[in-house]
Symmetry: C2
Subunit: 414 residues, 2 copies
Amino acid sequence: MTKPNLSGMCVATYRVHDDKADFAKKALSIAVGLTVGSWTDLPELRKAEMEKHLGRVVSIEEHQGDGAPGSRYADIRIAYPDINFSRDIPALLVTVFGKLSMDGKVRLIDLDVSEGFQSAFPGPKFGIQGVRDLLGVHDRPLLMSIFKSVIGHDLKGLEEQFYQQALGGVDLIKDDEILFENDETGINRRVAVCMEAARRASEQTGQKLLYAVNLTGPTSKLADQARLAISEGANALLFNVLAYGYDVLHELSADPDINVPIAAHPAMAGALYPSPHYGIAAPLLLGKLMRLAGADLVLFPSPYGSVVMPKEENLAIREMLLDESRAMRTSFPVPSAGIHPGLVPLILRDFGINSVVNAGGGVHGHPGGAAAGGQAFRQAITAAMNGVPLQTAAAEPGHEALKAAVDAWGVREV
Amino acid sequence: MTKPNLSGMCVATYRVHDDKADFAKKALSIAVGLTVGSWTDLPELRKAEMEKHLGRVVSIEEHQGDGAPGSRYADIRIAYPDINFSRDIPALLVTVFGKLSMDGKVRLIDLDVSEGFQSAFPGPKFGIQGVRDLLGVHDRPLLMSIFKSVIGHDLKGLEEQFYQQALGGVDLIKDDEILFENDETGINRRVAVCMEAARRASEQTGQKLLYAVNLTGPTSKLADQARLAISEGANALLFNVLAYGYDVLHELSADPDINVPIAAHPAMAGALYPSPHYGIAAPLLLGKLMRLAGADLVLFPSPYGSVVMPKEENLAIREMLLDESRAMRTSFPVPSAGIHPGLVPLILRDFGINSVVNAGGGVHGHPGGAAAGGQAFRQAITAAMNGVPLQTAAAEPGHEALKAAVDAWGVREV
């Protein structure tokens, strides 16, 4: 088979584990089976008509492994003509991994969409630059804090928690992803009181703040819910993308009325990415597809905390979100879980300035309270940006919040 | 901890693999961490207020394994108060498996929803009884055939393929799940010609037929597409549920205007169910949740074909779809892939009369063509229902179609 021209095709990369398979035969069966169905037995005239629909084997890289059962695999790349599917993520995924996902030890590890396919996706409405512009912060990583123990709180409790977090100088506050619509603290009610708390805190801190409010409920009502929240003053949204599907994020992000950044939460992602044999690799699942669907910020498990992901996967997600070769705004990587101020130099080294330091316990668990928690992070960010060791910075006057954090959690050396 | 009263709670069962973990501690951290956030450090007054939100450890079954690394696990059951989440599947899944899915080797193996939660779900609009009533067939398994190689065909090609399948006496014909909206054979155009072909075939066969047309495109337009298809005469729908999310199926099935049965396709399911350590078990993914969301028929990989699933999982899916203890219509199990007429006695033994025999290659690949393929299946079903061995039935006059199939594919003895 000659090297195909891949223009107008989306290319999927699979990792197929099999101790004995003829991978060349397997690749061909995928390329034919998931497109035209059959090929060799077609009459020549029909082949000429069908050729534009035929999938192509782009490459096969075999890895023989160490001979131990389960160690042999191949990375197989198949190109699918765009003409076979509509320009939406469900159609793309069903084509490249619908039936195939159930056919042995096969994992979808990458997906390169064509320019034509991508042209149907505006991508992030704000992206890194847009979010920075909204906040007026261009020279450092952003700082996000997370509501903690939100279930069972009343509006007054949420407002106070919000205010304390905001006082610490955080740039973004996000809802807990398990806060759903309820009578006491429904989306419009809590947006109103939290944005008022943001206003009061802003008088103290002199800075802007985005509140990513959790968008939940029936799929067909999400856009209305988003508009309602925005009409009450919401200036960002949090969304459990994988519980609803990428297409829902795509439609929300493409809606001109929903003119606020959207943060994608990775809830349910662990059902898909961790197995070496099955599922969808994290850089595709939480990187490329989230950006394509329009997420302005993407949360994923950090390599530092209790909820871990191997660091190379983290960095691959980051790369997908920041890749400048795509004609699409970039998305903020938000490595999350287990973050305390002593990790800030490491986060800066690993993820760079275009990242969001995201903390829950690291803010709320500060010995001086949530406001001191935020301050400690901001002081750590300033020190790290200036190349000042945190221990040194913590000893300086006015850095009592950082000192208390360093004493409590320590510093991870870079 | 005393045995909790589980009324008003949804109970999740997890399989957690860990060579060393204190599973009791792990269970408690799930029950607390995914609900109220923290517990032991709360003041007594606050505990009284928060108790109704607190998750409960229902049971822990430890399996020490054989001492080999990776063999130790526990099945942990946690009850979540309904009050913590709204009555929709995304909220339920994000609560019980959102963050937790990323926290080590943990797999969601079951989910028992409360009566209160279930009351928000009408379930299948037709179910087994309703689909049988539409077809007027009550005394045997149904027979479904699948369009083959639909990509690149024109309307005339689809019509002819449909007509040949219909002539064989099948009860249902389903689209291929990778046939998406396109200029040539869009949903309304192909419904019109295929339903006309169905009418013509019906004059020959004297029987009714449901055509499950593939519902695709942007999420927000699916209900309109369904109504359009129905206005053109569509009498059933096929839907790639997991590419869109259960909630979309739930909304479609609950829509009074969408008054036709919905068949759920398992595309993408293999990204979630096959790993022993991660993801969501097939009986929950393709059984319980599909039925809750309103699927009238559910396709899943059969234990007989090339796309295989262990038979005990197949039977567990079936059990979830047919469980009479739930106040909800039952759904037709449709074991699919690799089905030929020689397997019919086995299907009948394993899945019973309330199942759908679903074939693609087994219809189209018949030496006498698709019409003969359908006839062979119908003859096999009749023989199996009467306890007549297929080899015997195939030798009878008028059973040439079955004979040709048996000669081509053989018979799997029961």
